[in-house]
């Protein structure tokens, strides 16, 4: 037999759980810890319940109808596919042309001559990067030093510096969403030169390697496809340029 006290305790627990799921707030003060926690739990439940849908694959007809340029990104670590639209083209004191691409979910990637220089809206963002841009030439223009500033868990920028060599791996023919391009495959092979700012000395003594690949239009102008490293948290991104 269930003890009546235990029954009452169980009922109260049930009420409390219901309370947790019905927690709510309103007004400029913002939600309290418990309200935010219960919102997060509700969202997690909804996410689990939601039917799994395959992401929509872009077709050339869709891209032509949208008009403005898009890129397709795949986050390899998460097996995540998304489409980002061009929101800004500009230049600054550094060489190269900057393009910012935003997704509907708050994700943004910023490229300089097609090379990744920042990410936004992802965990462990690439804050900024020094890339080997040369004039308006797409992709890397030289080997040598490269550096990344990556936000780590305690809200600090961790600097990672690499020594890179640039290789031309020859011509390659690409097909991207019903269009084919003649490209050259450029590869940056980068090794860690120095790792600063590592509070626990835990990467010391290890050499690390990253490889960035770019497929650059043979006649210049665009990087049609690339696979680039975006930091320890995000990992490698595969980017395809869907510009019409």
């Amino acid at each position: 037999m269930i003890h009546p006290l235990r029954l009452r305790f169980g009922a109260a627990l049930l009420v409390a759980l219901t309370g947790l799921l019905s927690a709510c707030s309103k007004g400029p003060d913002g939600p309290t810890t418990q309200v935010q926690l219960s919102q997060a739990i509700r969202e997690a439940i909804q996410e689990r319940r939601a039917p799994k849908t395959d992401p929509v694959r872009a077709t050339r007809a869709m891209l032509l109808e949208l008009g403005n340029p898009h890129i397709e990104i795949v986050v390899e670590n998460l097996d995540f596919l998304g489409y980002l639209a061009l929101v800004l083209t500009r230049s600054d004191d550094q060489p190269g042309t900057i393009t910012q691409w935003n997704g509907g979910d708050g994700t943004a990637l910023i490229l300089r001559n097609g090379m990744l220089i920042a990410s936004r809206g992802l965990g462990g963002n690439l804050l900024s990067a020094d890339v080997p841009a040369r004039g308006q030439q797409p992709g890397p223009g030289r080997g040598g030093q490269r550096s990344y500033q990556i936000r780590s868990g305690d809200n600090i920028a961790q600097r990672l510096t690499f020594a890179c060599s640039l290789q031309d791996l020859g011509p390659a023919r690409l097909e991207i969403v019903e269009r084919s391009y003649n490209t050259r495959h450029l590869q940056e092979y980068c090794e860690t030169g120095s790792l600063q700012n590592d509070p626990q000395g835990r990467i010391q003594g290890e050499t690390h390697v990253i490889i960035n690949d770019y497929w650059v239009d043979s006649r210049g102008g665009e990087v049609w496809q690339s696979r680039q490293w975006a930091g320890p948290e995000i990992g490698y991104l595969r980017i395809r340029n869907l510009t019409n």
Partner: protein, 740 residues
């Protein structure tokens, strides 16, 4: 004396080893753990740099890095927050260890010894603190050496001191797939408990012994490194990342447990165990101890710089340089600044754009070439991040002639600091290779100025009403009859802001279930200002607080607060505080005075007879490595005079871990158990757990014993914390967030 290993144990060890290797070769039980990959493919994520550390050193039964019952010299990664629970032979230990500095760690322990039948308890519960300091690091031939003081200030049931050395060696890989293993060899010399078995010498003769049931709590330095000393040691072999085998020789005779009482039988000095790294944070161990007992250890380690979910915040609008859109002379004119309707239109545009970033515009002052935005932030923890969003909004909304941006965060209607930026810097540096450092170099942080008379206030912000309805939990600890008690129910919190700087707020609580009401009754030589907690826990529907507060700025660097009403469950009254905190200073000074009346136990609107004045003068200083030192001196709730010292490490991401103690003119006898008030506290930010922006945290203040001496009243809205977060040092530490 060592006896041979019994047959059953040999079988056990044998089968454990077989099981272990079968398991390590085929299945890995649990989530993936971070590990070193041998010869990774270039271009794979494994070959790239990682920030996630390898699993930390394992913990011993006392919650410090170590073997089984014995410590090793290892230190945990800096900032590590390790909790563990170990059990053997009716003895349980809950441990919390904080790696305060790379070479210094501190632990708190709550332990229970079943069937001790001494000092008037059948199960003896005790609390203790440890501290460990690394004397030198491991070298090529030299071992790492650490000095430890165990249970150095409690009633001293576990008191011991030791020097311990550990050297690590690489062992060959077991298979082609796995990397090399690791062998750690540990040797130490212990005093006190760790010198009680197999002693080889003596320093200073008889060690002063601890008196069970005394008030304890004071540093027992007259005992340290005195009396017999004995060697201890052992090995830990990690064939791969998941498993480890441990064997040790213990120098702890367990005199109290096995000779004075009969908790378990100690038949051997040798202990053995196997441990499994379940995930990066969790580790389990099973052991056979002292030739007679089985035991287990569950370890859970967190590191503030390794968030559970990395914080992801939707991108803000990009800064569009004026060169792209302000191409004609007309764009650069200042005529708009003479037109009130145009300024009002701009104000509404800025307010609308800020709202999309989760911020509230309080006021805007628009001049021809200069603009100031005063805003409220209830979304982002980091003021630097909020300022970055405001700067983006200003750059994309204001006319081209505005070149100087002043960005002022407000809290409770009071301006906390002003960040001064040039718009051209903002346009030039957004995609700079060193964007965060470059912007910091050209930005200035100053005292928040008076609101100019020409400022336009946001319409319809006041009066403002907010509410929150959510469940709560209220735990209570360390009652010898039942060490953990908890109440839960729902809270309704509401606030009303009639004008900037004014707030009326209250919290109504309905308990649904719990057992805190059954706690121990008070027995105190002092006025029962805190020990009557169980009498306060008898009621279901209570008013937690109800007060009116006013915040203002008294002038340059000087902030004020006045609060009246019901402050907390036990006290209400009037309170006033002044804080001096220059924007660019590490030092802050404050004074606070409160006249309080103790509330009736039912926590409605009636009061008891006890009235008192309590108040303090405080000094706050920001040390390096994110440490904040606070000193308070004054009169406490029970009418005692004294001072409190607290030291907290506040991480950039909002994690905080700290400790405090208070000495007052109350004698140890009058104070009771523990001799004086002390404890530790921690706070874990919600955004660190969820990966979404939040200003909330959850945490706990743990006192080994809650007594009445050295207690302060909890007044809502104390000034220092919120003001510091918007000042220069904090903005500098958070600069990485500005552009995110």
């Amino acid at each position: 004396m060592t006896r041979s290993i019994s047959l059953s144990f040999r079988t056990l060890l044998g089968s454990a080893a077989v099981l272990m290797f079968a398991a390590s070769a085929t299945l890995a039980w649990g989530p993936e753990i971070t590990q070193r990959v041998e010869n990774p493919q270039p271009g794979s994520p494994e070959a790239a740099p990682r920030f996630k550390p390898l699993p930390p050193p394992s913990l011993n039964f006392y919650g410090s890095a170590g073997l089984i019952d014995m410590p090793s010299s290892e230190m945990l990664p800096d900032g590590q927050y390790a909790t563990s629970y170990s059990w053997f032979g009716g003895q349980s230990r809950y441990n919390v260890t904080f790696q305060a500095l790379p070479w210094l760690s501190a632990s708190f322990r709550y332990n229970g010894i079943r069937n001790l039948n001494l000092y008037g308890y059948s199960t003896y519960y005790d609390r203790g603190f440890d501290v460990r300091a690394r004397l030198w690091r491991e070298g090529k031939y030299r071992p790492e050496v650490t000095m430890g003081l165990q249970d150095f200030a409690g009633t001293g049931v576990y008191a011991a001191e030791y020097f311990v050395a550990t050297k690590r060696f690489q062992t060959p890989a077991l298979s082609h797939h796995s990397g090399p293993g690791q062998l750690k060899v540990t040797l130490g010399l212990g005093w006190g408990r760790l010198g009680s078995s197999g002693a080889i010498g003596n320093i200073g003769g008889q060690r002063p012994s601890f008196v069970g049931g005394s008030t304890g709590g004071n540093l027992s330095y007259d005992q340290w490194f005195r009396g017999d000393f004995a060697p201890f040691g052992g090995i830990e072999w990690q064939p791969n990342e998941r498993w480890s085998l441990k064997a040790e020789y213990s120098s702890d005779a367990y005199v109290t447990e096995t000779q004075d009482s009969n908790v378990f039988e100690r038949r051997s000095s040798l202990n053995f165990g196997a441990e499994y790294q379940y995930s990066d944070r969790t580790r389990f161990g099973a052991y056979y101890l002292y030739g007679s007992e089985f035991g287990f250890n569950v370890q859970f380690q967190l590191n503030p710089s390794q968030p559970m979910t990395p914080l992801a915040i939707p991108a803000g609008p990009p800064v569009v340089p004026r060169s792209q859109w302000a191409k004609t002379e007309a764009h650069w004119g200042q005529g708009w600044s003479q037109s009130q309707p145009q300024k009002i239109q701009l104000r509404d545009q800025v307010a609308e754009a800020l709202k999309r970033e989760g911020l509230i515009l309080e006021a805007i002052d628009l001049q021809g070439t200069r603009a100031e935005v005063r805003y409220r932030n209830s979304r982002y923890r980091s003021t630097a991040q909020a300022s970055g969003r405001v700067a983006r909004v200003m750059a994309n909304t204001l006319p081209a002639s505005v070149e100087t941006f002043h960005i002022t965060p407000l809290s409770r209607g009071v301006g906390l600091s002003t960040l001064k930026l040039r718009r051209s810097d903002l346009e030039a540096l957004e995609f700079d290779p060193e964007a965060a450092d470059a912007l910091l170099a050209v930005a200035a942080v100053g005292d928040a100025s008076e609101m100019p008379a020409t400022a336009l206030h946001s319409a319809e912000l006041y009066p403002a009403f907010s509410y929150n309805f959510a469940p709560y939990t209220a735990p209570s600890y360390f009652d010898p009859d039942r060490p953990f008690r908890i109440d839960f129910g729902v809270d309704l919190k509401a606030s009303y802001a009639p004008a900037p700087g004014w707030i009326i707020a209250g919290t109504l609580r309905q308990r649904l279930a719990g057992n805190v009401a059954g706690g121990r009754a008070s027995a105190s030589a002092l006025p029962p200002v805190r020990t009557d907690a169980s009498r306060y826990a008898q009621y279901g529907t209570t008013l937690q607080n109800l007060y009116v507060a006013h915040n203002w700025k008294q002038g340059r660097n000087l902030y004020g607060r006045a609060t009246a009403g019901i402050f907390e469950t036990m006290f209400g009254g009037v309170s006033a505080e002044m804080l001096w905190k220059p924007v660019n200073s590490r030092l802050a000074l404050g004074v606070e005075g409160n006249y309080v009346i103790q509330r009736d136990y039912d926590q409605r609107f009636s009061f008891l007879d006890y009235k008192t004045f309590t108040g303090h003068a405080s000094a706050y200083y920001e040390l390096n490595n994110n440490y904040i030192l606070q000193l308070d001196a004054g009169r406490y709730l029970a009418g005692d005079y004294g001072a409190t010292m607290s030291l907290d490490r506040v991480f950039n991401n909002g994690w905080s871990v700290g400790a405090f103690f208070t000495r007052t003119n109350v004698s140890a006898e009058d104070f009771g158990e523990g001799s004086f008030d002390k404890g530790f506290r921690f706070s874990i930010p919600l955004d660190w757990v969820l990966g979404k922006p939040s200003q909330n945290s959850f945490g706990l203040t743990v006192r080994p014993t809650q007594r009445d001496g050295g207690q302060r009243v909890h007044v809502p809205g104390r000034l220092y914390g919120g003001i510091r977060a918007s000042h220069r040092d904090s903005l500098r530490d958070q600069r990485a967030r500005f552009w995110e």
